[in-house]
């Protein structure tokens, strides 16, 4: 059995989750605090991947990054980056596709913190950055953990966006979900089953871990007054 698609799936999920943490925390922080009129628009954009068919996202990314479009042309000819049918393209697509799975739990976690807690830090002379790092994030560890695991699992389970933007190039864009589709198309049910079972078991274990650890965490945090 060729493990490359499974490994690629996890590589993609790892890189995507890391990028999402870096993007998701400030975005969720801003959304949880902001009273700006553009907030509902941004919230809608973040949530769009929940309702849109992945093929729609994939299709538009394909258009944007195509060398025939202005952006795609600039990326390819000036910066030498090609997002179409490449791993980096998959990462971009996955970040957009899994964005709500990272942002929503963190945003909810921040909103559920006791009122005044950030203001209490501000009047103690702490900057917004220190407050976020030392006060807010440590008190939403379960939400951060949920965001990380859901984003990771969702990226592993992605199919439509990957197929549209990455195609099916072995070692580059052929992730496990595509490999299953490929094997079924070729009537190789045995190989398809192997990939499918591995994904099923890993997803089950990952989600089980979330529930077990978060359950324990909530109990501990309950004692700490959260």
């Amino acid at each position: 059995m060729n493990y490359a698609p499974i490994i690629l799936s996890f590589q993609l999920a790892f890189v995507t989750t890391l990028c999402l943490l870096i993007i998701g925390i400030p975005l969720a922080y801003w959304l949880s605090e902001s009273r700006s009129p553009i907030k509902p628009i941004l919230e809608t954009i973040v949530s769009l991947p929940l309702v849109l068919p992945p093929t729609v996202i994939g299709f538009y990314l394909l258009l944007v990054f195509s060398p025939n479009s202005g952006i795609g042309y600039f990326l390819k000819n000036t910066l030498g980056i090609d997002f179409i049918f490449s791993f980096s393209g998959l990462v971009i697509g996955s970040i957009i596709y899994s964005l709500p799975f990272m942002v929503h739990p963190i945003q909810a976690g921040l909103r559920n913190l006791p009122e005044n807690i950030s203001e209490a830090a501000y009047v103690l002379g702490k900057s917004r950055w220190t407050t976020l790092r030392r006060v807010l994030l440590p008190n939403i560890k379960p939400a951060l953990f949920t965001g990380v695991v859901l984003s990771f699992a969702h990226t592993v389970g992605e199919f439509g966006v990957v197929l549209m933007i990455g195609g099916n190039i072995p070692g580059q864009t052929r992730v496990a979900s595509i490999a299953i589709y490929d094997q079924v198309e070729a009537l190789n049910y045995g190989a398809a089953h192997q990939y499918a079972l591995i994904l099923l078991i890993i997803s089950f274990v990952v989600l089980l871990l979330v529930y077990v650890i978060n359950g324990h965490y909530f109990k501990k945090m309950g004692r700490a007054g959260i």
């Binding site: 006791p114 002379g125 900057s127 006060v135 007054g225």
Partner: protein
């Protein structure tokens, strides 16, 4: 001197709230802010702390300007020497009692200061506990000490005792007095409990509908109940209610209203508006502590 003249419109609709506050207050004292709900007491504290920006006006403490809209100057809350105690417990749940206090320090907390604060609030034995395992009163004690770590020039107490029961309130009042005596910050205490304000404050600022309506000593504002002489003065009857064979009579005595309970039978013709006089044969006050 704490001096301010601040205006802020909260919300944009016509029905929303306009705060227009102006006062000159003595520093180093405990100043009570008194008034009905919605008078703008908490909003005033938020403006003083810098958590809200005024639309117009200035704020000066001991000659140091914190806000002046004519100069477009606004000092961020982080830069003001302010301690703020919120009504809701606002300790950081991820930090122990000692860590909460240490976090408040600008750099590293002075260990003598930490010990001193823990001793005054009598929490030395609970220094390593998390806020979740403390009672409401203990949490407010820690929050009070935390607000004093940076030696603020201005200490703002926003109804810190409202959520607590009577016994704990009373002990916390003692802590507030003790800490104030030790550090002498100009303290603004929001409360709608007259007894509490009379006990703690040197000066009262009364507010209504977003404006300061009166300032003065607690005595001059709340009247002095101890000087009513039942045997010498005459009183006007305001209302009468009968309850379990007793006659409850509400009297106007100076600026105060007083309710007294009398035997129903002894006052058959008493009505509202009557002027009455009490003598010590008809009304005897006994001292019983219960």
């Amino acid at each position: 001197m704490l001096e301010f003249d601040l205006t802020k419109q909260f919300g944009k609709r016509r029905t929303d709230f306009l705060l227009e506050v102006k006062a000159q207050l003595p520093t180093g004292k405990i100043i009570g802010i008194f008034g009905p709900s919605g008078a703008g007491k908490s909003s005033l504290l938020r403006l003083l702390s810098g958590l809200e920006k005024p639309d117009k006006g200035y704020l000066k403490i001991n000659g140091e300007v914190w806000t002046d809209t004519t100069q477009r100057f606004f000092l961020k809350p982080q830069k003001r020497a302010v301690g703020y105690l919120f009504q809701a417990y606002s300790l950081f749940p991820n930090m122990t009692v000692a860590e909460n206090l240490a976090f408040a320090a600008e750099k590293k907390i002075d260990l003598t200061q930490l010990e001193e604060l823990l001793t005054v609030i009598q929490m030395t034995d609970k220094r390593d506990q998390y806020p979740g395992s403390l009672s409401g009163g203990e949490q407010q004690r820690v929050a009070l000490a935390r607000a004093l770590v940076r030696r603020p020039a201005l200490l703002l107490l926003d109804e810190p005792l409202t959520a607590l029961d009577e016994a704990i309130r009373s002990s916390l009042q003692t802590y507030i007095l003790a800490l104030h005596e030790r550090f002498q910050p100009t303290t603004l205490l929001v409360s709608h409990n007259r007894t509490e304000l009379a006990k703690l404050c040197d000066w009262i600022l009364e507010m209504k509908d977003g404006k300061v309506t009166a300032t003065g000593t607690p005595d001059s504002l709340f009247g002095d109940t101890e000087t009513i002489d039942f045997t010498a003065d005459s009183f006007r009857v305001l209302t009468l209610t009968r309850n379990n064979g007793k006659l409850i009579v509400e009297l106007v005595a100076g600026k105060q209203k007083v309710k007294i309970a009398l035997n129903n039978s002894s006052w058959p013709n008493l009505k509202s508006g009557d002027q009455i006089k009490l003598t010590d044969t008809a009304f005897t006050l006994l001292n019983h502590k219960i």
